[in-house]
Structures are given as C-alpha cells and as structure tokens.
C-alpha cells in the first residue's frame, strides 16, 4: 500500500489504498462521494463517468495508481461550492427534464461537461456521439440532448430543437 495524491474537485487529497483499487471505489467508499454511480462495472454504461485531466473516463476502469498527480472532477464539484447554485448544465437538465430516475445523470453531466469544454459544435449528431458511452433507461435521450444544447453558449447555432415545448412545461 502506498499513498496516492491527486486533486479532487480542486482540493488536494491523499489516499492510502491499493493502487489497483478502482477510482470508482476510491471515490464512493474511501472518500464518501457517492454522486458517481456504478451501473455495469465494465465500461458499458458510463454511470461512473468522471473527468481525469479534463478527459471523460469510466471510473470503474481506472485504477487509483493512474490518477496520481491528476486533476479529478466528479459531479459533486459541478455546483458552485459557496452558493450551491447549480451549474448551467445542471440547471438545463433540471429545467428540460433531462433526468428522471437520475442514476445516469451524474455520468451524463460529466460526459456533457467534457464535450462542452472541448468546444465541440453542439449539433444533434455531435451531442449524440459525446454521450454514446452513457446509457439512460428512462428519458429516451431526447431531453438530455436538448439540455446539453441549451447549456452550450453556442446552442443557438445548433440544431433547431423544440425547446419551447418543454421549457415552459
């Protein structure tokens, strides 16, 4: 066993755990951050998506030894740490019905965050590709895609989405 250091949502952490511990277990069990979910445990569902140095990864496939010195971000770091105000992306999911049961939501948010941070053009096709590794069993994806498009500043240049139908609902 050895100490692994990294930053988690901007704060330095050090963990004494086996290096092959899944980042998912380190977050949920050792650090008590249960926002990151486990669905399949084998890279298929994306419920465990987090950002490592800005790139979206499945935390069930990354051992802790590989995040030594990295910047790790989870859904817990999305809202404003002081006011608790939701990020525009979270707010859009809330407003547009992008979450139902919610199990996929933290992972969806992280995949969407990575996509928007990369400055990708938020077309319907590009958003679908960006969340192709995240399964949702409830929403049918349409409202998630609308929420991501709405949250992007360039959303107006994106596809004509029927936002009016849902925004006022």
């Amino acid at each position: 066993m050895q100490g692994y250091r990294f930053t988690l949502n901007g704060e330095a952490v050090e963990l004494e755990v086996p290096g092959m511990r899944r980042l998912l277990d380190a977050l949920r069990e050792d650090l008590g951050l249960t926002g990151t979910k486990e669905g399949c445990g084998e890279g298929e569902c994306g419920a465990c998506s987090v950002l490592v140095d800005g790139a979206v990864v499945d935390a069930c496939l990354v051992p802790v030894c590989q995040v030594e010195g990295s910047d790790v971000r989870t859904v817990e770091g999305m809202a404003d740490p002081i006011t608790g105000a939701l990020s525009p992306l979270q707010q859009a999911f809330l407003d547009l019905g992008g979450a139902q049961c919610g199990i996929c939501t933290p992972g969806m948010l992280m995949a969407a965050r990575a996509f928007l941070d990369d400055g990708g053009e938020p077309t319907d096709g590009a958003i679908r590709e960006a969340i192709a590794g995240n399964l949702c069993r409830c929403t049918g994806y349409t409202k998630i895609i609308e929420a991501i498009a709405a949250a992007s500043e360039a959303g107006a240049d994106g596809p004509k989405l029927p936002l009016d139908d849902v925004a006022g609902a």
């Binding site: 086996p18 092959m20 998506s49 790139a55 496939l61 051992p63 590989q66 192709a132 590794g133």
Partner: protein, 283 residues
C-alpha cells in the same frame, strides 16, 4: 469486491524491462480490457500488475524515415486527433473512431488492442492491410515482428511474457489507398460482427499489392489470400466485385457466437467488400 493485485509503476522503460525480466507482471495501459478481465470471471486474475501508462517512451506519433510510427500508448482519441494519422493513414483514425465511445477512446490504446489480441480488435485488420510491423522490446533488446506474424492463435501473440509493445510502424506508401469498414449492432460502443480493411495501389487502371484483412471471422485477425488474388491485377468492376464477394464468402470460416452467426458474417463480409469495390470503382 473487485480484485486488487499489487501494482508497480516504473518511471522509465529500462526500469519496466528490468521488472518484467524479474518475474510475472501483467502490464496495464489504458485498462479498458484489463480492468474488465481482472474480476477473475474470465480466467485467472493477474498476480502482479505493471502500470505502463506513464511511460513517455511508449507515447507519441511521428513520421520517421519511411514510416508512420505510432507509440503503443497512443489512445484512440490521440489517434483520431493526430494530423499525421489523418494525412497518412486515415483508415486508422476511422477505426479508432468506431471503438467504444469517448470514455473508452480517452483511455484505450493501440498497444492494448494489439496485445489483448481479440479477433474482434478493430485496429488489427488495418495493421494487416497496411503491412505494419510491431516493435516489441525487453531487457534483451528490441525486435520487429510483422503484423502478419503477430497473432498466432486465439488470443495468442508472438510477444514474450517479458516484452512490451513499444510502437507500431506503418510503412508509408503514398500511392496506396486503405479503406476501413466495421459492422456492429449499433454505431457506438459495439464490438464488431465483422471488420474489414482493404489496401491497394492503383496502377494504370488495375489494382496492385491488394490486401484484404478481416476481424471477427476467425480465431485471429486474418488476411484472405484467395480473395486478394482475385483482385490483384484486376480493375474494380462489377464482375470482379461479384467474383470477389463469392470467393470471400467461401474463404472465411466464421463461427456462431453471442454477437452473430457464421451465416450472417459470411453474407455481410461479401456485401461489405462488394460495396467497397463499387465505391472505389465509382459505379
């Protein structure tokens, strides 16, 4: 609870080689195969793991002499974004773009795909079609293995237990065209039912140096020499395409498995080849 074998993170390639020559270690690169296999549900979990993810010596994509050289740790995201790959081997970028989704592409590596040696490994037919060679290294030195000699049996490779894949060399042949096709159940995150790479050089209206390589139709990725000989010296016309599609259907010996049936694979392989020939022939 998942298995957590001891792991060592070497800081340099020589240190990694020294560890590998001192005992049994399973390397971990992006972990997208290993972390799934580590549960012990699919064979014995590794006793000890060697984390190679930080070995800079295994990274980077460049053109050296007459080859595009892709480091073993290049991720699919890096391959897709590489201007050099886009210029010299777009088929590899295309293959990378069909693997998993963003989460997998950000971690999964070319070296991992090669050593994992799944017959469904999507980059492997591209290596075969491009006459690539795989550089493996150990404390004993480096050696170059032709892709055609690398996958020796179902999930078996020519790599020795103390060797790492260092890089892949794709010889640059400016006049050559390489095409890639994959058929899966859906666009993203689907393991192939059939994957095909086709290479040729046009020479006065006919094709030369034809390579047809396939994944998911045999125990290893394979080339199909009978089909290649139908296309060698021929032009991509309709009659040639009909003939080649019939021959490839006879030549491959796919199996039934959870992802598809032998009959479907046979039919779809013929059809992919036929369609590619039609596109290339412009009819």
């Amino acid at each position: 609870m998942p298995v957590e074998p001891p792991v060592t993170t070497p800081r340099s390639l020589p240190e990694a080689y020294a560890l590998l020559s001192s005992g049994a270690y399973r390397p971990i690169a992006g972990g997208t195969d290993l972390m799934v296999q580590i549960t012990g549900e699919l064979g014995e979990p590794p006793e000890r793991v060697l984390d190679v993810w930080r070995l800079e010596e295994l990274r980077g994509i460049q053109v050296e002499d007459d080859a595009l050289v892709v480091g073993a740790l290049s991720t699919y995201t890096e391959i897709r974004r590489s201007a050099l790959v886009g210029e010299w081997l777009p088929a590899l970028a295309q293959a990378a773009g069909t693997i998993g989704a963003a989460q997998i592409q950000n971690r999964g590596t070319l070296g991992g795909n090669i050593v994992n040696a799944s017959p469904a490994g999507d980059t492997l037919p591209v290596l075969l079609a491009a006459d690539a060679s795989i550089i493996v290294g150990s404390a004993r030195g480096e050696r170059e293995v032709a892709a055609a000699d690398f996958w020796t049996g179902y999930r078996e490779t020519a790599r020795a237990a103390d060797e790492l894949v260092v890089q892949v060399r794709f010889p640059l042949k400016p006049a050559r065209t390489i095409r890639f096709r994959k058929v899966g159940t859906r666009r993203a995150q689907a393991i192939s039912k059939v994957v095909l790479a086709l290479a040729y050089r046009e020479d006065g209206g006919v094709w030369r140096d034809v390579r047809v390589a396939l994944g998911s139709v045999a125990a290893t990725p394979v080339r199909v020499p009978e089909t290649e000989s139908v296309l060698e010296g021929a032009a991509p016309r309709a009659t040639v395409a009909d003939h080649a599609a019939a021959v490839i259907g006879r030549e491959i010996k796919p199996i039934d498995d959870v992802r598809s049936t032998a009959e479907y694979r046979r039919a779809v392989t013929g059809r992919i080849l036929h369609r590619l020939l039609r596109e290339e022939g412009g009819w």
